[in-house]
């Protein structure tokens, strides 16, 4: 039912084992060594981690990460006591318009660490868990390209994309001859709009940790509505 072409890797568990053997960088080797879940692991048995980056722009080749928020969770609980957030000193100049969007100012970033300094902590939080993002073309590519720039080796890992899930659901709802006749279009799948459909509260956007928590809540709600705790992870991760 989900679009296979979207999937980076067909068997994540096997793929990460391979990466562990091939990886040159100690930190990444360690990260891959932890491995990941088997394709048929049920959602209820999985430890997720919701991840959100705020960046200076949308192009991972030109722009930089300025803040990272993450929170580990399961289908039952979002663990705020294990939440983490960091400001990162950006490589490129902080653009005025991204100051407006994120509300992060130069003084916030003054003395903020370089990505290298927090990488160990970040990888430790992500290792072994299934990363959940809303719109997967930010976090994974940004991290991948940043790491390539730093030590000539990128990173891959499976992600669950709540935006893709919402998109599939909305497309299905808007599909069908009758709906096309009525001119029904798929509803907005932005984070805030998606959350509204599950009666989740409205949050102030563009704080990395708040967005990470919002994404975790959204996945709990999506699974509550459209899947079951017994659904295998292979149906969701990409």
């Amino acid at each position: 039912m989900y679009n296979f072409i979207n999937k980076e890797v067909l068997n994540w568990s096997a793929f990460l084992k391979l990466k562990a053997q091939l990886s040159k960088d100690e930190r990444l080797k360690k990260f891959y060594d932890v491995g990941t879940y088997h394709d048929d692991t049920k959602l209820q048995d999985i430890e997720f981690v919701a991840l959100d980056f705020e960046t200076t722009g949308l192009d991972p080749k030109k722009n930089s990460i300025i803040s990272i928020g993450l929170v580990p969770f399961t289908l039952k609980r979002i663990y705020c006591n294990q939440a983490k957030s960091w400001f990162i000193n950006p490589k490129d100049k902080l653009q005025e318009d991204s100051i407006i969007i994120h509300g992060i100012t130069h003084s916030d970033l003054k003395g903020a660490p370089d990505l290298r300094r927090i990488l160990d902590q970040l990888l430790e939080q992500l290792a072994g868990k299934v990363v959940v993002v809303h719109y997967r073309n930010i976090e994974r590519p940004f991290l991948d390209l940043h790491l390539r720039a730093l030590f000539k080796e990128g990173i891959v890992f499976p992600v669950v994309d709540t935006m893709q899930i919402e998109s599939n659901i909305q497309r299905k709802l808007a599909a069908g001859f009758l709906n096309r006749l009525r001119g029904k279009k798929p509803a907005s799948i932005r984070l805030g709009q998606s959350r509204k459909r599950y009666n989740l509260p409205t949050y102030q956007p563009h704080d990395a940790l708040t967005d990470a928590i919002a994404t975790a809540e959204l996945l709990q709600a999506q699974v509550g509505y459209h899947f079951s705790p017994d659904t295998p992870i292979k149906d969701l991760w990409l």
């Binding site: 969770f73 039952k76 609980r77 979002i78 663990y79 705020c80 006591n81 939440a83 983490k84 957030s85 960091w86 400001f87 599950y198 009666n199 989740l200 509260p201 949050y203 102030q204 704080d207 940790l209 708040t210 928590i213 975790a216 809540e217 709990q220 709600a221 509550g224 509505y225």
Partner: protein, 624 residues
């Protein structure tokens, strides 16, 4: 780097009991939160589950159930559940289920216990059952209230009254007064039967000694009975200081014996209360008696609104405002009757004009209709006297209507010949209501069980009350009928954003606080009061008697007092607000106009009422 959970902190810090926590304690709570999403109609926790956290509703609606499956409470954004289980045996007491998609903040038990330990305000809040919280709300609210409007006369009593037997000489009385620095003494007659608790026959004051003895050249050996005032006006020890002032002003007396269970416990005088500045409503009562026609009275009545608003703004409690407004209402009646007798001549036979319902209970507020009746002397002959009382009734009722006391929609007024009965007829009438009760017939005569005399032979009203009490007390079928009627009007469950949530799940845009709150409460209290033979009319006084009689489970009587006070307070505050914004005041209140304080506490008050109704049902469930 410290993690800042902005959204969670902003949310939690808005709501009690977290709003009073210091910053660092709040931060600990926020850091500890676990979030969980539940779809509509899913069970969150089940009865007897182990419970290890406190739940706070971030969004959505959760219902709590009793063991028997009945709905116990419905909670929305910002409210807590699970605290009772955490505080008792770590077992779920009330199973919880979502009725809408719900996002919960779960706070671990360790944090909860730690907060209870460290912060009294937190412990007070979570340990309080809804009814206790209500009590706290009512009490903290009256803390800063005006002393005059909330203090009772018993507070003024500093010593026992001087009581002398009736055969004492004037000189001996004067000596005793001088020795004890008393400006007046009470006179009793030891030969009178004391079993009713009262053999007081008179009062003598310094003024009496001056005017009636010295100035009149009377022998100082004369017995005190020759100069004492025999028109004894007394006051119950639970009366407010305010009332004492009203009575002194109205009757032009300077001393008032204060009675407890009909025995004198003190004597207060003008100087005791002179330090309280005179209040607007006192002046209002005295100006009622200066008006010379129903038209003048009608003009004066326009100022009643201002008087009411001032009282409310001066933080008078509802008991107080109710008494003052009832006193003013009675004064209008009395003055109209005086004017009627001037107009049509003195009544051909003795009679007693009655006030019924809220005026008799001293619970009148702004929006009220007139409920009244007349007791006629047994010598009444319709052919001879009928026309006089017909005219008198119309004069009074029309006059009251002009003063803003709208005609009773049920036509329970003296103008209705059915409600002008002789003493014997009234007794027969009450006897038949009580002896052959049927809920339907009783439905319309509820208010007759709150009656007081306002003019004429006021004693007759007391006799009639005593008759009713004797008759009703032992009659279980009657009480059961009355109890059943008292259950007709159920309180709502609570409020959400802008609507009233009914217990059957319906929504309403507004709620009538009289019909759904104070009236069912008064009904319920009346049943208990009749069952124990309480002579009080006021609901608060009745509750005192009921508590003393011990027929309610522990502390439930106090809960009812607080619920009554809270609902009445909200009702009169909203009436005052209406008046101030030039809107015709009514008893309806829209949830969007309620403060958070009012919402939370009204909801608790309604819960108390609902529980008390359940209790009433079981207590008086004789087969009908």
């Amino acid at each position: 780097m410290d993690v800042e959970l902005l959204e969670i902190k902003d949310f939690i810090s808005q709501y009690a009991p977290f709003d009073e926590l210091p910053e660092e304690a709040l931060a600990e709570v926020v850091q500890s939160v676990e979030i969980s999403y539940f779809r509509a109609n899913t069970t969150i926790i089940d009865f007897k589950d182990e419970i290890s956290e406190l739940y706070m509703i971030r969004s959505g609606i959760v219902e709590l159930f009793r063991r028997n499956g009945n709905l116990y409470n419905r909670l929305d954004q910002g409210q807590l559940f699970g605290q009772m289980g955490l505080l008792t045996n770590n077992k779920v007491r009330f199973p919880a289920k979502t009725t809408k998609d719900t996002l919960l903040y779960c706070i671990p038990a360790v944090i909860f216990y730690d907060l209870c330990e460290r912060f009294e305000s937190f412990a007070d809040f979570v340990e309080a059952e809804d009814s206790t919280r209500l009590k706290q709300a009512v009490e903290s609210n009256s803390d800063d209230a005006n002393a005059l409007t909330t203090s009772k006369v018993k507070k003024l009593i500093t010593r026992e009254p001087l009581i002398v037997p009736i055969d004492t000489s004037v000189q001996a009385v004067a000596q005793m007064m001088a020795e004890e620095y008393q400006s007046a003494a009470l006179i009793n007659d030891p030969s009178l039967d004391d079993s009713e608790g009262n053999n007081l026959v008179g009062l003598i004051s310094e003024h009496d000694l001056c005017a009636k003895v010295i100035a009149a050249g009377l022998s100082i050996d004369s017995p005190v009975s020759e100069v004492m005032s025999t028109e004894l006006i007394s006051l119950d020890h639970n009366a407010y200081i305010f009332e004492a002032m009203l009575i002194m002003l109205r009757n032009n007396v300077h001393h008032l014996p204060v009675l407890k269970n009909k025995k004198p416990i003190g004597l207060i005088e003008v100087s005791d209360i002179i330090r309280y500045e005179s209040q607007n409503s006192l002046l209002f009562v005295s100006s009622i008696f200066q008006q010379q026609s129903p038209e003048d009275l009608a003009l004066l009545s326009k100022q009643l609104k201002d008087c009411f608003v001032r009282m409310v703004n001066e933080d008078a409690n509802s008991h107080m405002v109710g008494r003052a407004m009832s006193e003013i209402g009675r004064s209008f009646k009395q003055r109209l009757l005086e004017l009627a007798e001037e107009e049509f001549g003195p009544a051909p036979i003795p009679f007693c004009f009655l006030a019924l319902g809220s005026m008799a209970r001293d619970e009148q507020l702004m929006v009220t209709d007139q409920d009244n009746a007349i007791i006629l002397d047994n010598s009444y002959d319709p052919a001879v006297h009928g026309e006089y009382f017909e005219k008198l009734s119309h004069f009074v009722c029309d006059g009251l209507a002009a003063c803003g006391y709208i005609y009773c929609t049920g036509d329970i007024m003296a103008t209705n010949p059915e409600f002008r009965k002789t003493q014997i007829e009234w007794e027969e009438c009450f006897a038949s209501w009580i002896d052959n009760p049927n809920p339907k017939a009783l439905l319309n005569c509820n208010i007759f069980f709150d009656l007081t005399g306002v003019y004429g032979r006021i004693k007759w009203a007391e006799h009639l009350n005593a008759f009713i009490l004797r008759r009703a007390k032992k009659n279980n079928r009657f009480l059961a009928c009355l109890a059943r009627n008292a259950l007709n009007r159920k309180p709502p469950l609570g409020f959400f954003k802008d609507f009233v949530m009914e217990s059957d799940g319906r929504h309403n845009n507004s709620i009538n606080l009289k019909r759904r709150g104070t009236a069912p409460l008064a009904d319920l209290i009346r049943v208990h009061a009749l069952a124990i033979g309480s002579q009080s009319q006021n609901s608060f006084d009745r509750l005192e008697d009921i508590i003393e009689a011990g027929i309610l489970p522990k502390s439930k009587g106090e809960d009812l007092q607080h619920a009554m006070e809270l609902i009445s307070l909200v009702r009169l505050r909203h009436q005052a607000l209406d008046i101030e914004s030039d809107i015709e005041p009514d008893n309806n209140i829209e949830p969007e106009n309620m403060s958070d304080f009012e919402r939370r506490n009204l909801k608790d008050a309604f819960l108390v009422l609902s529980n008390a109704q359940n209790f009433l049902k079981y207590r008086y469930s004789a087969t009908l």
